[in-house]
Symmetry: C2
Subunit: 283 residues, 2 copies
């Protein structure tokens, strides 16, 4: 039986992504991104799912930095899920929204629903919790007219009703998760993949004007489409950068080795962090 | 009297940045990034300080997205402070670290000190709080042998002792903050600026292979040095991107208008989000 580790606790978006993408594997909740990645690296679990972008709990930078600097595990899939935040109350609540005295959630979830709160709950007291799941738990245990902001899993796990759906400010916001595994054959996701992607890490020899332009030339003349580029400072000091580049095609034996060779000739170091299918899931 | 708004609560890194950079202005704590930005936009406060990168409380993406999509306020300065996490205990604690039963902090701070916790506090129970300040408050009120992870301000605000300094995993990690103001003349920071920077937002007409390379050509042949580039999906749908580009020089009347003109001829839209000094502060 395979075990999937994820950034917990119960009711997080990472758990929602895992439950939507996978079937009957075992699940194990981890308290931090590094702990989850370490567990896969040390063979304690087979698969790890960690947030990469727009996550409520967990930072983008931490996942990338930990994979780059500490534990180089292959990325074997990406899962993209829409961000859907709901207003959750106890099932016996039947009043108007305006009677809600408090709104509990993780500060990032509160921020994502800023306009809704401003318009519909201007007088409610905002209370921060360490996760959306914790907020839902607190509401489920309270006798007061209070609400939590969280996703559909948080509602189910804690027996709450969704009194207002989709209260997030941006309708087209998505969260991205990386699936990590030593052995890619253990990962099976029962959805059609939307596209294939290869993620590369490129480190420049030193800061110099136009270096990035030179790097991108290697992709441009091969007509390789980049869907993401992000510069990150290396942790070895100020002023040194590496780039994370997503190319929307599978690693092959001609184009990618050609790019790598050219960039290395320029003094860059080039690592392939993974070549993997991308799944867009509806929840 | 000017008022500076910041992402609170007490004891956060944003508060530390504000206290280090500014003198005797009034301070007002805000519970979310959008609330702080709105307050500056509506003239309720003169200056807002919000996290941009590597923040413990608050997301990178939220600050950029809110400035791009909702409220276009000028960036008038950037503050960079080193991330220094300490292990905090009550002043009457005098035991060994190994006797600490619990470690409390924001999940991102816990993750930043992953290796220290793993090596020195392997048996301590990890407890998440909604901010590093809340964790320090909880420790200050407890009679148990428990610790918090937080910065020097959290220690001072809650009367805790630093039992172990600099327990963060990466020594060269920094947090970046943006200073926002309608009127740049109200902002005075009593430190020498390290460099000048201009932040631009460039939106592509549509996804096409090599478009980014073409954009960077406009900077490269002018020998304009880019210190950061990040692609972000627009919130209008999947597959549309904009780029945030940092150029390490002040906006001028020749180079920047030239870049803008060329890029607009290619069908891009170009916005200047700010041209401002960057302050590196020691805390």
């Amino acid at each position: 039986m395979k075990t999937i580790g994820y950034l917990g606790p119960k009711g997080t978006f990472t758990k929602l992504a895992v439950d939507t993408a996978f079937n009957d594997e075992e699940r194990r909740s981890f308290t931090t991104i590094p702990e989850c990645i370490d567990a896969v690296d040390q063979g304690k679990i087979e698969i790890g799912v960690v947030p990469l972008e727009n996550a409520i709990e967990g930072t983008v930078q931490l996942t990338v930095d930990y994979l780059v600097h500490q534990v180089r595990l292959p990325v074997v899939a990406e899962i993209v899920v829409p961000i859907q935040q709901h207003l959750l109350v106890r099932k016996d609540f039947s009043g108007e929204l305006s009677t809600l005295k408090e709104v509990h959630s993780h500060s990032h979830a509160i921020a994502q629903c800023h306009q809704f709160i401003h318009q519909h709950l201007p007088d409610a007291n905002i209370q921060f919790s360490s996760s959306t799941g914790k907020a839902a738990e607190l509401v489920s245990e309270s006798k007061e007219p209070i609400a939590a902001i969280g996703n559909i899993i948080a509602a189910k796990e804690y027996g709450l009703q969704i009194v207002k759906e989709n209260i997030h400010d941006y309708p087209n916001n998505h969260t991205r998760f990386l699936v990590l595994a030593q052995d890619r054959s253990v990962v099976s996701i029962n959805h059609p993949a939307k596209l294939e992607r290869t993620t590369m890490m490129i480190t420049l020899p030193s800061d110099k004007s136009g270096a990035l332009h030179q790097i991108l030339s290697a992709f441009a003349w091969r007509k390789m489409n980049l869907s993401k580029i992000e510069s990150r400072p290396t942790k070895t000091g100020l002023g040194n950068y590496f780039f994370i580049i997503d190319v929307d095609q599978t690693y092959d034996d001609v184009l990618f080795p050609g790019v790598k060779q050219e960039l290395e000739a320029l003094g860059c170091s080039v690592d392939i962090l993974g070549t993997y299918p991308v799944y867009h899931l509806n929840i």
